[in-house]
Structure formats: structure tokens, C-alpha cells
Subunit: 435 residues, 2 copies
């Protein structure tokens, strides 16, 4: 079941922390995303964002808050990663959401947590939210696939399988890092246009890709597919994901088995995981399916998913270069796209992934693939924005970019807005290139 | 450094256990591979194979054997998986090998372990040797790549990057299973030749691939490549690997991002990990590089690797069908190939993998890709043996096979032989297809 809005989404509900009621905050009491933090010298703790603060769940439980939740939920909230909580499913997630909302809303029933339980988000260290067993990256944006296809096959941009098979491949779990981790420009083997032989050195075509990530919940045993009607129950929550890519390495290595070293040097995720429940007001059909497109095969077809399987998250990409920082220029927005413009829903991606019996485990990460939309301003990577580097982007201060330079910082932001609902956000996903 | 033969390889050295001295045993005292076993109702234990027995390392240590090893080696031997031991490196692995050899050789210095510490291998349950963080599969057999290329591109079988880039892709870690685990025939989306639209159902082109697997040792931090001259230090040991493949699913899904659901429903590994040290007498140059082939780029080039980087393991594939079992026919050998016929050495694969800074972790699994040789009898999968199903294989009893049927069991065996050395083996890697 796709979660439906309930009293935790009530626009009248307000937090007792003022910063959570401020206009434009990512973290009102209607959001309540999860992350993992460590205070100076401290151990990893599951945390919930509220305004500019983060509630330390283990400390809150030890102080007597959140009493009345089942023992296994309490144990999961006291763990150093989100995997135990992810494993429990909606039956545990929803009561926890209600208890957290009650704890943080202005007219909640119980005592309020002491200020020491809510450090400022800016004053703690953020860690990977989960141990990621496997990371899978999809290619769910038909706009991205068509743009990339046009560059390489102008007559035949979209391959014949695209509208039938949710295309995906396995990424590297070990090199998924949290926002703020510097990204070292990778070395790699490339073959320049016109060169006789390949060479090895730092990539000259370093790119980002803005994606929506999704963490798997309870998972499925090996050999047992997840029916499409049950796939939404497997989606714990969503994050921002930057799938850094070395385009010159990719062009030379990717035939016939797909991307490998062009991608696996780093993938950056946001610290916050916005739950499926929090996103309930922002669901809708995916918009990219055109009249005349084939209907999804039965194993990918579900009436609820067809009307509410998409997730309306607006994704923005900002760039700030070394010179822009020195000149006092704020980050410059390169693109804005929406996850509703994907071709496949998260439930379809998950059901397809498990359709052969492949086992998914709590904390596995699924990436949507680059989220591009129909317009020129909605292209989710430099490859598309600069059309393989042929049309450089001009930045404030007069610099241009074909691909990323050392010192460039890429900042992803995500937000959900709908009339009648309180807007929520994903925080940021940052990464700066180092030589 | 590639390990060199020493006194633990001395052909005169014999075990006090008779089955370890028998002709044709895989596990003489010169081998000493590691695995993880569980006795009935018991917990996972690191074990060492000797003849038809397995030494329970934790129990041996608790009984006072192996005293004198460093504390961290002792702790690693008492762990429930091999990852801690893999993390320690040759400096710890070699003294442990010497201590084990001394414990099991007929004229060793100390008291012998009690028989209860050495259950029969056939009477315990075998588990995955390591927690596999990431599984990477390469495509290192030029014979395999050429055969497959000839089927699809007769004029241009080998892609231009093949002799420059060790081609690889990320596989699925969650679905790596140990020998003996049944393999369920996967469902998948396929598009039959001539069909207007794709369909979804059980694969009709289920195949195996015989590979040599390699477990990573200490690993490297993110952003720090492993120089080719240090790559051999990262190779803890080797196993047999069956990379099951659904060819019809693969053909329809793999463009443009490579294999995904065609492979990730199961990959089977042998219980035993034969260490790099045990393989010291069986090293040599890889044989597949032809005159006129380009020299490896400097980051893949090392004089020691060029002369001794290959591993001489003869790999055999056997098939036994339901009807063959009923008729009393033994498993039938489909192919015999040698890992020395690969194009890239294990150290080159590992150095390439880490060349962009991708971090490898203890217990990560690298697969060689299908090991095929130059002859018709050295083709390591049915796709090649039956040339896409066009030339069925005839089995004892008169059955034929284009691809695998339900009830078929595939058995991989590996062995190392060289004049002047005691032969060693890898045991078996088995998997039976269930509907």
C-alpha cells in the first residue's frame, strides 16, 4: 500500500521548535526524516530532523520518551544505523511516525525532550544512514535516456527495450559516501577522439548526475519475487543521490558490459532519508508515459501504482566554483527537474529488480538514474546541459564549464510542494572535487 | 609480492591423516584451504581442509593448539567468517600457514589435535566463507570474449577496447550462495526472435559460466589506488565460481548498461578458498597474449606479474541430469579449461579496479569471467559449447542439451598440477536447477 496522508500531515499541526515552523524550512513537523549523526567524540545515533535541530533517538528513549512503542522498534531506534528500523516495515514505521509527531508537535500529550537531546544539525557530524549491502542504479528518466541517445545515435535515440524494461545495473556499495565527503578526481583509461592508442590519467570529463535514491525496507528472500502490488511496502524512504561520472572513462570502457570505473569512485547521498509516509501528500502518476506507449507488462502493472506511484520531488542542482566562492557569488542553479517526470515508478523499479528472485535486503540503495525533464533547464547532468561539452555553461563572474573543475562544489536540493500541504525538503547533498 | 614456494610446499611433507596423503586428494598438507562450517546445531567456524576432514580452528585454539601466533591472528581464526583473517595480509597469513602445516604434518613439533576437532567434511554444513561487501565480475578470457563476439558480430568479434581495458562490471553481492544451494529458474522479460512484443516467464536459456573467483585481502582506502606491484599482496585466495546466466533475459535487457537480472538471481561459490600461498608452485605468465598485442599500459605492467602473475588452475565442468542420476550415469564432463589462458592476471584485474580510487574491502569477491580456452573442449558455458543453442550437446543415455533443464546439476572442479609439486584441488562447486 502507498501511504495515505493522515493527521501527521495536517497543515494545522505545528512544532514547539520555532525553526520547524519557519517559512521555507525543509524540516517541519510534517516531514520527520531519519539520519545518523555523531556528536564530537560520540558514537553513531539515529536522529530525526526538526527545524534546524536533530533529535537523538537513543538519548530520547533513554530519557523515557517514546515509551509505548514495541520493543523491536525501540531497539531499532537505539541502533547505530537505520538498517534495523528499515527491516521492520510499515507496521512499525507508522506508529513510530505518530509517536515522533506527538513528541514534537506544540500540543503533544507528553513532556518535551530536553534541549540537550536536540543538537543543532550544523554542529554534529553526519554519517551514512545505513550499511548499504548492494547499490543498484536505474535509468528511469526517458528524457535523460533520449538526450544521451541523441548524442550517440541521432537516428535512433531510444533503444527498443527502453519502454518495456526498467533498465538498471549494479553500482558499487563500498564507495557510497555521505554529503560533504570530498570527491577525488579519478584517474582512468581513456581514448581521445582521433588518438591511436588509449592513455591513463586524471579524467577530463568529470560530471555529476542528480538522482532520487530509495532505501529498501524489509526485503525479500532469494528466489521469491516481490509482486508489484506489494512493492510500495518495501520502500522505506528516499534521499538525494549524486552519481558522479567520468564521461571519458565511460565512453571507452562501457562496451559490452556497462559502466564500471566511470562510476564507482564515489556516489554521494544526502544525510536525510525522507520516509515514504512523509511523502504521502506528494504522490501522483508518473508523467512521462506518452499516448501510444506500451502498457507495462502485468508484473509491472498495478492500478494504485498507476495513479499514485510517482513521487513529486523537485530536484535542483547548484554549482559553486572556487572563483565564485572567492568572488562572493552564491551557488548557481544549473537545473531543476521533477521525479514525477520519470518513466517508471519506484515500486516498478523494485518489483522489476526482484522479479527474477533477486533478494533485496534492508538498507539496499536504489538510484533512479539521472532525473531529467522535458525542458532544456531540466537536464540533470553536464553531459546533457552542455551537450557533450559542445555548449559550455556560463556562470556568475563569467567562468564557463563544460565539465567539472577541481574546487567545484555540486549541491543537490530536493523539495515537495503541493497546494493544501505543508512543503517538505530533503536537505542538501554536497560534494566538492579535489585533485 | 607473489608468494614463492617454501617448505610448506615440500613434496616430501606428509600429513598424519592418511586421507590427506591419498593419490588424487584435493587437500594434501600442501594445500590447507580455508572455509567456514557449522556442525549440527553449532555456530559458524573457520575451518581448514585436510584430506576428507576439516580442522575446526576455534576449537583447536581453545584446546591450546596454534599458540605463539599473534593475538590478532588468533582472534581472526576464532571469527565466524574469514573477513577478519583476510584483512590481515601476507604478514599474518604466512605464519599461520606455517603453523597449520606444522600442526598437520606427520613429523610436526607439537601435540596433534584430538579427532573431535576434525569432523568429516561430508558431515558438516558449509557456509559462505566471507561476508561479500561487493562482487565484481570481469571478462578476462579473450577466448570467451571472441567466441561470444563472433556469434553477434562475425566481422568484428573483439571490441577495440578489449586488449587495453580489463572489462568488468558490478555483480550482485546479496545473491552469492555457497555450493549446494538449489538455484531456482528465474522469471524474466524476454523478446523472442520475431516476436512483436516481449513477454515475461521462466527463462528458457539458462546457462552456467565457469569462473575463477578471488577474495580481496586488506583492501585500500577510498581515493587511493593499488599500484600493480602491490596488487598481489591484496589477493587472499581463490575459489570456484559459477556465474549463472539467463541468456534470453540478457539479450533483451543488456543495452546500454550491461547485464542485470540475467545474472543477479544467483552466483555459486565453492566452500573452499585456496590461498595465494598454496598456489605458489602453480604460477606462470598468462598465455593468451599474442605477438602484436599491445603492451599493458604502465599502471597494469609489472615484471613479476608478467612472468608469474597467472594462476595455473585447470577448471572442469560436469553436468548430471535427472535422467542420468536415475540411469546411474556419473556426471559428464562438458569442458576443461585453464585459468592460465586468461588475458589478464588477477593482479591486473585488482589494480585496474582500484586505479580510479575505488575502495576494495576484505572479503570482496572478484570473478574472472567465463574461463574458456583456445579449443572446442575448453568453452566454459553452454552459450559457447552449443553456439547459442544451435549445436546441442549429447549426454550419456542419449539426452541432449542446448541450455539447462530443471533437475540438471552443474559441478565445477578445479585442480593444480605441475611436475615436481604435489597436486592440489579446489573441491567442488555444485548447483542444481529447481523449477
Amino acid at each position: 500500500m502507498i501511504p495515505r496522508p493522515d493527521q501527521t500531515h495536517d497543515p494545522a499541526r505545528r512544532a514547539w521548535l520555532d525553526t520547524a515552523n519557519a517559512d521555507g524550512t525543509d524540516f517541519p513537523v510534517q516531514n520527520l526524516p531519519f539520519g545518523v549523526m555523531a556528536r564530537v567524540g560520540g558514537e553513531a545515533r539515529v536522529a530525526v530532523a526538526i527545524g534546524d535541530r536533530a533529535l537523538d533517538l537513543r538519548a530520547a528513549i533513554d530519557d523515557g520518551h517514546l515509551a509505548g512503542l514495541p520493543d523491536e522498534t525501540v531497539r531499532a531506534c537505539r541502533a547505530p544505523r537505520l538498517n534495523p528500523l528499515m527491516s521492520l516495515g510499515h507496521a512499525a514505521w507508522l506508529p513510530l511516525r505518530h509517536a515522533l509527531s506527538d513528541l514534537l508537535r506544540v500540543d503533544g500529550p507528553g513532556p518535551r525532550p530536553a534541549p540537550a537531546l536536540l543538537p543543532k544539525q550544523a554542529e554534529v557530524q553526519w554519517l551514512l544512514p545505513a550499511e548499504i549491502g548492494d547499490y543498484t542504479d536505474f535509468y528511469a528518466s526517458v528524457h535523460h535516456a533520449t538526450n544521451v541517445g541523441r548524442m550517440f545515435r541521432p537516428d535512433n535515440p531510444l533503444l527498443p527495450n527502453y519502454k518495456w524494461v526498467p533498465i538498471g545495473y549494479h553500482g558499487r556499495a563500498s564507495s557510497v559516501v555521505v554529503s560533504g565527503t570530498p570527491v577525488r578526481r579519478p584517474l582512468g583509461q581513456v581514448k581521445d577522439d582521433g588518438a591511436e592508442v588509449p592513455s591513463f590519467g586524471p579524467t577530463r570529463r568529470l560530471d555529476y548526475e542528480v538522482e532520487l535514491g530509495c532505501y529498501v525496507g524489509p526485503g525479500n528472500p532469494l528466489g521469491t519475487p516481490v509482486p508489484i502490488g506489494e512493492a510500495a511496502d518495501q520502500l522505506f524512504g528516499f534521499c538525494l543521490l549524486n552519481d558522479w561520472s567520468a564521461r571519458d572513462v565511460q565512453a571507452w570502457e562501457y562496451q559490452p558490459l556497462g559502466p564500471f570505473l566511470a562510476k564507482n569512485f564515489a556516489s554521494t547521498v544526502s544525510p536525510w532519508v525522507v520516509t515514504s509516509a512523509a511523502l504521502a501528500p506528494f504522490r501522483g502518476p508518473v508523467a512521462a508515459r506518452a499516448a501510444g506507449d506500451p502498457a507495462p507488462l502485468p508484473y509491472l502493472s498495478d492500478p494504485e501504482d498507476a495513479t499514485a506511484g510517482g513521487v513529486g520531488v523537485e530536484l535542483e542542482v547548484f554549482l559553486q566554483t572556487e572563483a565564485m566562492r572567492a568572488g562572493g557569488y552564491p551557488p548557481y542553479r544549473l537545473s531543476r527537474s521533477d521525479a514525477l517526470d520519470l518513466y517508471w515508478t519506484p515500486a516498478q523499479l523494485l518489483a522489476h529488480h526482484a522479479s527474477n528472485g533477486c533478494n533485496l535486503r534492508p538498507g539496499d540503495l536504489l538510484g533512479s538514474g539521472t532525473v531529467s525533464g522535458p525542458g532544456d533547464q531540466a537536464r540533470g547532468c553536464l553531459l546533457e546541459l552542455t551537450w557533450r561539452g559542445s555548449r559550455p555553461v556560463t556562470l556568475p563572474g563569467g567562468e564557463t564549464r563544460r565539465f567539472l573543475e577541481d574546487g567545484d562544489e555540486v549541491i543537490l536540493r530536493g523539495s515537495c510542494r503541493r497546494a493544501g500541504s505543508v512543503s517538505i525538503g530533503f536537505g542538501e547533498c554536497r560534494g566538492r572535487i579535489v585533485p
